[in-house]
Structures are given as structure tokens and as C-alpha cells.
Symmetry: C2
DNA sequence: GGAAGCATGTAAAGTGTTACATGATTTT
DNA sequence: AAAATCATGTAACACTTTACATGCTTCC
């Protein structure tokens, strides 16, 4: 973030909220101590630049920081599966619910994916579309990924919901048919 | 896991490695203390059942634990975006690399997705296919999701790679990948 | 004058990873 | 006899979240 001109802890957090939040979020309580530590370790250099009476500390990448960023992006190691999805975890355990309620769980997950997909198309993508004009093309690529992903996910869950509903006995009617 | 007949800390960890690992992993150092805490809080009940001279402690869900599991599965709250993906994060910042190396990053991410997709089809799905015979259908659903997801992801990244390669000026020294 | 936004942090608690440490039983 | 698997845990560290705490500046 520093590399692309974002300078203060506050604005790093804001930039994350507008961009990477969907695959990597953060908080003020993480950003400020981390900047302090990166400064101690020489990856960034800070400077006090108050705005009037309001304190403000700007940071820039040092050469060491630039090399570390570069090394991270080039690193062949792609983390195994550093990836958590509580929705999928619930789905995995859905046998603990009566069939009707399991379908309900799938419906909630689908609604959530649909909403995320909408949010990407309407909120995130338009924001990201200004980035290429400033020489940054990959933020838009990542936003497109998010939009496409949640659209795909909503479709997958809709298909599952249909399958599950077809295999359920009608509510209120008698015996269940074989599936 | 306890609910479906898995009894010891060791086998919970093993079950996670064979199933939910792709959207929620764990470790022994997390499982054992957590079981102890859940027992103190009354969600599970433990019992010493050594096998010969080898110590062994089995656990079962209490009624309170069963209710908590049920409550979690029914909870309308689906966590905003509890979801992290270091690969996507790298992609977002790929403007920090020369174009050729950015394409390389995309290629590595694609290879990783392809490998994960293969691993799902060949390792995880066959394992999950035995679950329905024991009355558990959703583990297979989750495994199908994983398989479909990584296949989708590999395709998306392949498409991106193609686009990026088309937009690159051709390099005389040509380290072009054919795959 | 009030609301929204800019700006910085600490404290406490909760969560998760890696390394260390041990030993029995079963399979090859 | 060795390797794999079963089995349990601790210690140290790293990471993350939520709540707390403060105050300035700009816009309406």
C-alpha cells in the first residue's frame, strides 16, 4: 500500500477496506503496531508530518522494504491452503440438521453469496476501475476475480439447493419417496 | 466430529486432515487444549480409555454441546468475509513486478489451483464418497464444492494468463511457457 | 453547531502455528 | 528391526479482534 502512495496508518486501513478486504482484511489495532515494528526492522521509514494540531505520521518503503515486497511476490511458495470459509464448514456438518433446516442453511449461504456478488459489481468494481488510470491494473483484476467468484458461488449453491429440494419429501405430505 | 463418531483428539485432527482441511485446518496444539476447555465448559465429556499401556482419552458431545452445534448451524449470522487468500493478495499487488514476472505469478497461482483441483478429484472425493453410506451426505457435498471450486479457479487464472500474455510485448529471448 | 471523517494509539482477550517432548502399538 | 501410526500434551511465539480512549478538521 505504501508503494502505491498511501502514506499513513489510517489511510492504509481505509485502502484495505476499499480493496483487499474481501480476501485479506485488517484493523487499526493491527496496522499501527505493525508499522512501528516494520520501522524498527528497517522495512519502512516514518516521518512526523502533522496537519495543523492533528498528529500525523507518514511512512515510505525503504530499499529493504522494497526488496522484501519483491521477494514475497516472486516467492515460489504458495501457501498450501491458507484459506478459511466458515460457510463451507457449516455445510460440511449440515447432516446434524433435519433435512429441511439443512436446505435452509444452503439457502442462507446462497443469499449471502448473491449479496456479495452484487456488492462487488456495484461497489467494488466501479472503485477498482479508476485504478488502471493511475498505472495499477491488478487491483481491477482482483476485483473482477471477486465479482466472478461470488457469482460462481451463488450459482453453485443455487444448483445444490435445487437438488436438495428435489430430494426432500413435501412438507405436510405423507411418506418420503426414494432418492 | 465427535457427533459423527470420532472420539479422540488424535483422530479429530486426522479427520480434519482428510476432510475440512481445505476450508478449515487445525493442529494437535489446537485440538487438545480446546477439548480440555470444552470439557471444563460442559460441551463435551471425556473418559480415559487407554489401549494397553498407551494413554487414550475419548470424548462425546453432551446435551449442551449438541445444542451449541445446532445453534451454530442454524445461526442466521453468516460471517461477513471471514476468508483469506494469500494468492489473491499477491495478485492484487502484482503491479509491483515487471510485466513478465507478473505473468509468472499468475502462472504459479494457476498451477497451484490445478494441483489442488487434481488432489480433490483423486484424493478427497474418493474418500468422501464413502460417507453417504454411513448416513452423512454433506461431507461429499463439501468435497464436490472443493473440486468444482479449484477447477473453476484454475480456469479463471488460465484465462487471465492468456489475456496478460496477449497484452505483453513479445520478448526476443522468449521464455514462453507452453502449457 | 453537529456530523462525518481524519488520525493515532493501548489493553485484553482470543486464536493459531511451530517447535519441542515422549512413548506405545501395529505394520512391513 | 525399522517405519508408520496412534496417542497426548506443553511452551513460546505470532497473529487477530474487540473494546477502549482521545482529539482535530472539514463539511453541511
Amino acid at each position: 500500500m505504501l508503494r502505491s502512495g498511501v502514506q499513513t496508518g489510517y489511510s492504509i486501513k481505509r485502502a484495505v477496506d476499499r480493496s483487499t478486504r474481501f480476501f485479506w482484511a485488517t484493523s487499526f489495532a493491527q496496522v499501527y503496531p505493525e508499522l512501528a515494528q516494520l520501522e524498527r526492522q528497517g522495512y519502512v521509514a516514518g516521518r512526523d508530518e502533522p496537519r495543523g494540531a492533528r498528529p500525523r505520521k507518514t511512512y515510505r518503503l525503504t530499499e529493504k522494504g522494497r526488496r522484501a515486497l519483491d521477494g514475497w511476490l516472486r516467492s515460489p511458495r504458495v501457501p498450501g491452503f491458507e484459506f478459511r470459509d466458515e460457510g463451507l464448514l457449516r455445510l460440511f456438518f449440515a447432516d446434524a440438521l433435519p433435512p429441511d433446516d439443512a436446505v435452509d442453511l444452503v439457502r442462507r449461504l446462497r443469499e449471502h453469496a448473491t449479496e456479495a456478488s452484487r456488492s462487488f459489481r456495484e461497489d467494488i468494481l466501479p472503485l477498482a476501475e479508476s485504478a488502471p488510470q493511475h498505472g495499477y491494473r491488478f487491483p481491477l483484476v482482483a476485483a473482477r476475480w471477486g465479482s466472478d467468484y461470488y457469482t460462481w458461488r451463488a450459482g453453485w449453491l443455487a444448483q445444490l439447493q435445487t437438488e436438495l429440494e428435489a430430494s426432500l419429501p413435501r412438507r405436510g405430505s405423507g411418506r418420503r419417496q426414494t432418492d
